[in-house]
């Protein structure tokens, strides 16, 4: 059942190799247990997109959510949507912001980190996990997609 003839087949079978790499990464980096992802399938989409979705027996237009990106060098970068959904299960590399920092972060600004996290991707959190940041020399680089930058009135 191809939705479009030009489309590459992505969803006909799970990508076991990417599954292993992604689950190992989130467990090691954030302490998010692999058991949370039982029954979910991992697919490799175009331009290194790592997709988590349901098991499928046909080729839809798309499925599930892009949870990460695989760079050419094999590094994994988690997406905002992944962090927002599973960040609450993270036990390490979580940067907790103050309210004023959260306001800045939601506007798309970088913020200072005051924590003993390892450099690299972090869960940026204020009440809820807000998204992904990149910790470098004590600064959390903002990784929120531009479309998500927003002035929040109630927080």
């Amino acid at each position: 059942m191809a939705s479009s003839k030009r489309q590459r087949r992505i969803f006909h079978s799970e990508n076991k190799e990417i599954r292993k790499a992604f689950l190992e990464y989130v467990e090691k980096r954030f302490g998010i247990p692999s058991s949370l992802f039982e029954g979910r399938h991992i697919y490799l989409g175009s331009s290194g997109k790592i997709i988590m979705g349901p098991a499928l027996h046909f080729e839809p237009l798309s499925a599930g959510i892009t949870v990460g990106r695989l760079s050419k060098s094999g590094n994994i970068k988690p997406t905002t949507n992944f962090i927002q959904t599973f960040g609450r299960f993270a036990t390490k590399n979580v940067v907790s912001l103050s309210k004023s920092q959260a306001i800045e972060f939601l506007r798309g600004l970088d913020v200072k980190a005051d924590c003993d996290c390892e450099e690299g991707y972090v869960v940026v959190s204020y009440i809820y996990p807000l998204g992904c940041g990149l910790l470098q020399r004590g600064i959390v680089k903002n990784m929120l997609p531009k479309a998500k930058h927003q002035k929040i009135v109630y927080l």
Binding site: M1, S3, S4, F11, G39, R40, M52, G53, P54, A55, L56, F58, P60, L61, S62, A63, G64, I65, T66, N81, Q84, T85, A102, L106, Y126, I127, Y128, P129, L130, K148, Q150, K151, I152, V153, Y154, L155
Partner: protein, 300 residues
């Protein structure tokens, strides 16, 4: 501006003065808690801190009416912990909730922008499979973005004309049909500018084709939920009646706890419908201060 013909059409089947007075009032702002991303208690606690008062809804514990209109500017909206949605639009998933199992295969036949898809996913706790289909590629982009924002992992998107949807079988099918949308006039003034009986008849013709395909995509014993956000009997009772005349389908009585509604009409403009049809319900905006809606639950 409510068209005179509109008033004329409905004056014998409801209190049309109450209806018109209601249609001129703005719609209360409602939302549901997206339990895929947040705990209900936590979200309620936060709204208390914001000083936004919430009113619960008798038939769905995740639905609330807010006394402020800018709930889209909350942190909860940003993180996808709430989904702003009209109350009547939350009814179809709630009314099939008893059929949703961890292994269920569900088709949302006209799914974009995904209010009901994402709600179904929450009711299914992200298990099983939802196929969210829509004919309109532009609207599918909004569907995709809502799926991502809500943390929905059990859904695949397809882009078919439902009338030509490939042969698959589902436990549950939602057909939230394209319609003349009279019931949304409170949030969309355009409805009455574009309103005409011709539009209603065209919608009805398409809905009859859609409901046959939706029914044929059910497994034996499966449930089809047919809904529209319009008041026109041609798009509601007449469509369900048409299905009953063409297929071996049964209606199941729809009940909505704590709300007022009418049973579906037995006849319209001299045409009598099958008795079964009255198991469906029509919700007039003035009955619960909501949008207008029609719902039938059909078993194969």
């Amino acid at each position: 501006m409510i068209p005179a013909d509109f008033v004329e059409r409905y004056k014998d089947i409801t209190d049309v003065e109450l209806l018109c007075a209601c249609l001129e009032q703005p719609l209360p702002k409602s939302f549901r808690i997206n339990t895929l991303k947040a705990e209900r208690a936590m979200v309620l606690e936060r709204f208390k801190e914001y000083g936004i008062s919430l009113k619960a809804v008798p038939w769905y514990e995740d639905a609330f009416i807010a006394d402020k209109h800018d709930i889209g500017l909350t942190l909860e909206h940003f993180v996808g912990a709430i989904y702003v949605q009209e109350l009547v639009s939350m009814l179809p998933p709630v009314l099939v909730a008893d059929c949703l199992q961890e292994w269920s295969k569900v088709l949302d036949g006209c799914a974009a922008p995904g209010s009901k898809t994402t709600q179904l996913a929450a009711l299914m706790r992200n298990k099983g499979l939802i196929v969210a289909n829509d004919i309109d590629y532009v609207r599918i982009k909004a569907l995709k973005s809502n799926i991502e924002r809500c943390g929905v992992f059990n859904t695949a998107i397809t882009n078919y004309d439902l009338r030509r949807f490939p042969n698959m079988r589902f436990d549950v099918v939602l057909l939230d049909a394209p319609c003349s949308a009279e019931g949304t006039a409170r949030k969309n003034e355009e409805v009455f500018y574009l309103w005409s009986v011709k539009k209603i008849l065209n919608a009805s013709r398409l809905q009859k084709q859609l409901i046959l395909r939706a029914f044929d995509l059910l497994k034996p014993g499966g449930v089809l939920l047919y809904s529209t956000c319009t008041l026109a009997p041609e798009e509601n009772e007449e469509v369900v009646d048409f299905l009953l005349s063409k297929r071996n389908a049964y209606l199941e009585e729809v009940e909505i706890k704590g709300w007022r509604y009418d049973r579906a009409l037995e006849e319209w403009q001299g045409k009598r419908f099958s008795e079964e049809v009255s198991k469906a319900v029509r919700i007039w905006p003035h009955q619960n201060d909501s949008g207008g809606f029609f719902i039938a639950r059909i078993r194969k």
